[in-house]
């Protein structure tokens, strides 16, 4: 554990809204090793983005981390000063977001926006930073980079903008890249290209990656390890081959059955019925029980812990569902 690049332990985030306290992340634990790609999957609203934003203290107000610990390279990120945290942002830890259309500032040129972090973290002059920006754009496969630095975001396509975001994120050779649904807003061919790019990072720069997605097809493509989240909790965690070959949590089984062209076909479950519960009104016991075909009275009353039942496999379920139900 101490060798991990990032270690998130029992993270709890809540929103203090007018309608009361909304617990959106409820004790999430996971880690990312150097050069490893960890996928966080789960339906929309289960706390993936909030978990990832917590790392750099970017949760929107009125959200707050009220429990847990986040260590990066052995440093407790909550104990350090804001100034030190800012030194990590965009430098050692970078983020790219879902919406390439709205993630870039519309009134500044691409060159300005990429140079900004280079100048900040590498103390380069204007000219040199712009040269570096062009080099980065080149590297992420943007043709005619010298011209693109002078363009504004609205003059580029969605795929190009996401490449710009990636170029910006990688400009300072981060040790960790957090990509929050980087391909969700893009069409399929562009999606494949962007994923290829992210995969290459790992081999070229040994960058650790947190890839957030609700698409298991994307997971199979790029991830080394998978963390499955449901209702603000980790419900299963395993290396990617293990998870696809041997899913243990009913929720994961449900997700897998809704992947098109999944190698693994699960007979018992179709697509998961019902919706992610509202964080303000969580079910008692196992949070998945209203949607779980295997739910028992115990599930309705008791909350299962995340249990490591194998050297590299964790699940949060009382039962061994592979046997087709209650064991």
């Amino acid at each position: 554990m101490s060798t991990s690049l990032l270690n998130v332990e029992d993270l709890k985030v809540r929103f203090k809204t007018e309608d009361g306290i909304v617990p959106s992340v409820n004790g999430v634990t996971f880690h990312v090793d150097k050069g490893e790609t960890v996928a966080i999957v789960g339906e929309s609203g289960c706390g993936k983005s909030i978990t990832s934003l917590s790392i750099l203290d970017l949760i929107p107000s009125p959200g707050e981390i009220h429990h847990g610990r986040i260590d990066f390279n052995g440093t407790d990120l909550q104990a350090i000063k804001k100034k030190q945290l800012r030194k990590l942002r965009g430098n050692e830890i970078s983020m790219i977001f879902q919406e390439p259309m709205t993630s870039l500032n519309p009134v500044f040129t691409i060159g300005n926006q990429i140079s900004e972090s280079i100048r900040l973290h590498q103390r380069l002059g204007k000219k040199k930073a712009l040269m570096k920006s062009i080099e980065m754009l080149d590297r992420v496969g943007i043709p005619d980079a010298e011209a693109v630095v002078r363009r504004f975001p609205h003059q580029l396509s969605g795929g190009m903008r996401q490449r710009v975001m990636i170029a910006m994120a990688l400009a300072c050779n981060p040790k960790l890249l957090i990509a929050d649904e980087p391909t969700t807003a893009l069409d399929v061919t562009i999606q494949a290209q962007i994923l290829e790019l992210i995969k290459q990072l790992k081999t070229d720069f040994d960058t650790g990656v947190i890839l957030i997605t609700h698409d298991l097809g994307v997971v199979a493509e790029v991830a080394d390890r998978v963390v499955v989240m449901y209702a603000g909790e980790v419900v299963e965690e395993a290396p990617v081959e293990e998870l696809f070959a041997n899913p243990k949590h009913p929720y994961t089984l449900g997700l897998l059955s809704s992947v098109p062209k999944a190698e693994h076909v699960v007979d018992e479950l179709g697509t998961i019925e019902g919706n992610v519960p509202n964080p303000a009104d969580m079910p008692e016991g196992c949070k998945f029980h209203p949607r779980c075909p295997f739910a028992t009275d115990k599930c309705r009353n008791e909350h299962p812990e995340l249990e490591q039942f194998d050297s590299n496999h964790k699940k949060r379920c009382f039962y061994d569902v592979e046997k087709g139900g209650v064991a």
């Binding site: 800012r86 942002r89 965009g90 870039l104 500032n105 519309p106 009134v107 500044f108 975001m165 910006m168």
Partner: protein, 304 residues
């Protein structure tokens, strides 16, 4: 450049319409002849004057004569001052522009920092204070604020002149009076515009790069937040140029607002027409300036 040319061409029909409206307004609102002559004047005198002013001609002939004169910059003689109307108006122009300009500067100096501050500290005591102040500033009548300022700074402390022109000190109180009202409106506008921009995703991107909050706010957010504010600023400037009558009166400021009202009361047609025209051109000019600023701030707007 092409844009500018096109805008200028677009102004010409607008000027035509303004000239027509001014022309008609002056003629439908009463007979100027009776005001121009003493009460003892005979019908004979009136007819002669009417004849000499061309008022017996059909309306359209009068209009075209008037238009022809306009093109050569001739708005006619003021019968009150016995001088060309345009030169009387232009004499007042510098004072009007000066006051408008400084009021706007004061409004900007006050509203941008306060609007930004109340947005970034939203729902705090500071925000409440600023928003409350803005409501107050807007509710306060201009003449009242003007008189209060005079009482305080000119009468009580005797540090600034009560009224008139001639130095930068004369400008301070009227500019503050006008600037305050505009600042109040603009502060609220900047606050709400900033609040909207601060929740945008590119602001989160800016923070995620490690930028200090001052740069996130002053570079990434403010530039975007000012885009909608510019239009309102132009409107306010236009209002300032033409309609500062009350403030001009309180401070005896020799601007165009006073001149225009006097001319209307006296039915000094030539001056009314010249003043209206000059104000219209200034309004168009400030809108053009707003458009250019808008384009500068927002690259998404195409130049064609």
């Amino acid at each position: 450049m092409k844009f500018l040319l096109r805008q200028i061409l677009r102004i010409i029909p607008v000027l035509f319409i303004i000239s027509l409206i001014v022309f008609l307004l002056v003629r439908v609102t009463g007979d100027p002849i009776s005001l121009m002559l003493p009460e003892t004047a005979t019908e004979q005198d009136k007819a002669e004057l009417r004849q000499s002013l061309g008022l017996n001609e059909p309306l359209y002939v009068q209009y075209f004569t008037y238009l022809g004169d306009l093109v050569t910059g001739d708005f006619g003689e003021s019968f009150r001052y016995n001088q060309p109307a345009l030169s009387i108006v232009l004499e007042r122009l510098p004072a009007s522009l000066e006051l408008a300009f400084f009021s706007m500067i004061i409004a900007i100096i006050i509203s941008i920092p306060l609007g930004v501050l109340s947005a970034i500290k939203r729902n705090s005591f500071i925000d409440l204070f600023i928003t409350g102040g803005a409501v107050l500033g807007k509710a306060m009548p201009n003449f009242w604020l003007g008189i209060m300022l005079i009482l305080l700074f000119a009468v009580q402390f005797n540090v600034l002149p009560v009224s008139g022109t001639g130095s930068i000190y004369h400008l301070i109180l009227p500019a503050i009076t006008l600037g305050t009202a505009i600042a109040a409106e603009m502060t609220r506008l900047i606050r709400s515009s900033m609040l909207e921009i601060l929740s945008q995703e590119y602001i989160r991107t800016a923070r995620s790069k490690g930028l200090i909050e001052a740069i996130v706010v002053n570079k990434h957010a403010l530039r975007n937040a000012l885009i909608p504010v510019v239009t309102i600023m132009a409107l306010q400037t236009a209002t300032l140029i033409g309609g500062t009558l009350i403030t001009e009166t309180v401070f005896s400021w020799p601007g165009m607002g006073q001149l225009l009202i006097q001319a209307v009361n006296l039915r000094d047609m030539a001056v009314v027409q010249a003043a209206t025209f000059v104000i219209a051109i200034l309004v168009i000019g400030s809108n053009l300036l707003a458009d250019l600023t808008y384009r500068y701030l927002d690259p998404r707007i195409k130049y064609d």
